[in-house]
């Protein structure tokens, strides 16, 4: 047993030091407590408002009887999935389900790096969506994640440096097929092929490739979209860890698809020119 422990010791040594600090743990715990209190407070306030409104409308009649809504309410997960399906232009060719809210963790140098537990996002449809489609007689599932990071999150993630002016210049490998596009209104769209970086210390043999993109906005925010591929799909990798070509029948978004998704105003709040 001691031999096995010694071998495991070798494996554990490769991890280096942890980035998690006691302070970051307590900061995150405080955030969770604040969120819980806010949710509890909001629920109590909502009940109070509902009760008061019920009493008032019972006495004097509702000013909103015609059905006009005062403000947009947050979407429920099924509504978000339906809106997202429209943005993906799936037509009747697949189903979309929300998969919780999973902010994007990104490669430093290509995207802001957030410390664990520090990722926050602020887009109206932010989250991960699982798309199921029938391809070649079988069901293929893809996950698409969109995240809007506000300027503070970008600054925090890049140690105050902000996003690189030309992301494509950071890729040393031509296989990234990085394209940068300057758009009206000071926006910069970048789309590239991403995969698991071939760094040493990564034992996982599979390398998965899909398109990924980001839209840098003039206020310093950045909208990120990525497709995660089923890691079990042998179509994307070769057995020895080499890269096979991207199978476009199994991936959901091509370059144009991810571009169209990133330019959808539905993904942005109104103060950034969005619809919601």
């Amino acid at each position: 047993m001691s031999d096995i422990r010694r071998l495991l010791e070798h494996a554990a040594d490769g991890g280096g030091p942890s980035l998690v600090t006691t302070e970051s743990v307590y900061a995150e715990a405080a955030r969770v407590r604040r969120r819980r209190r806010a949710v509890a407070g909001a629920a109590a306030a909502a009940v109070a408002v509902a009760v008061t409104a019920g009493v008032l409308t019972g006495r004097v009649g509702s000013p909103f009887r015609d059905g006009a809504e005062v403000a947009a309410r947050p979407l429920t997960p099924p509504e978000r999935a339906r809106e997202f399906a429209v943005l993906l232009r799936l037509g009747g060719g697949g189903t979309v389900e929300p998969d919780g809210h999973t902010p994007v963790r990104v490669v430093p140098g290509t995207e802001p790096r957030q410390a664990p537990g520090e990722v926050r996002s602020s887009g109206p449809l932010d989250g991960t969506y699982v798309v199921s489609r029938q391809v070649r007689g079988g069901t293929v599932r893809n996950a698409v994640t969109v995240t809007l990071l506000d300027p503070a999150a970008v600054r925090a993630g890049t140690a105050g440096r902000g996003l690189p002016a030309d992301l494509c210049a950071r890729f040393r490998d031509a296989s990234a097929e990085c394209r940068r596009e300057e758009l009206p209104g000071g926006r910069v769209l970048t789309v590239w092929v991403a995969g698991d970086p071939p760094a040493a210390g990564r034992p996982w043999p599979s390398r998965e490739y899909a398109y990924r993109g980001r839209l840098a906005l003039p206020d310093g925010s950045v909208l990120i979209a990525e497709e995660a591929i089923d890691s079990m799909a042998s179509a994307f990798t070769t057995g020895n860890g080499g890269v096979s070509s991207i199978d476009r029948q199994r991936t959901l978004l091509d370059r144009a698809g991810i571009r169209a998704l990133l330019l959808s105003p539905e993904l942005l709040p109104p103060h950034l020119g969005g619809k919601r």
Partner: protein
Amino acid sequence: MTRTYDDAALHEFVEARRTALFRTAYLLCGDRDEADDLVQTTLVKVVLSGRRHTRFGNLDAYARKTLVNTFIASRRRFWRREHSCAELPDRPELPAPDRETGLVIRAALGRLSAQQRAVVVLRYWEDLSIAETAGLLGMRENTVKSHAARGLSALRDQMREGFV
């Protein structure tokens, strides 16, 4: 030791255990960033629920259980999150002999199922007994024994291939 947790003791626990938990997490998942996430998630849960635990042993077991369950739950997803690294490498790093051993072992661990990996790490890294491992993973002892045997056998095979 039967003292109730106060804030100072919780703080001390987090400070004392975070590195050890990170090493366990790294063995489980094989990825530094994911290991950081696992540890952060685990310790936040420990801090939020720490006062409910009345014994140090309980808290340690709770932290270990949370870590392993979070890891296994992450592997139930059909897709995995992006792997990120500290820097984009200029060229693949050339492994030193010791590092190469670590790489081969991590690759071998990575080919085990999540449950097998959890059993191997808990039994042979955390030195838990079969009964403790079974209790922590919610498995029967015979299942733990068979996962441990199969995991070790697979590790041996992978190690042999790795060094041939």
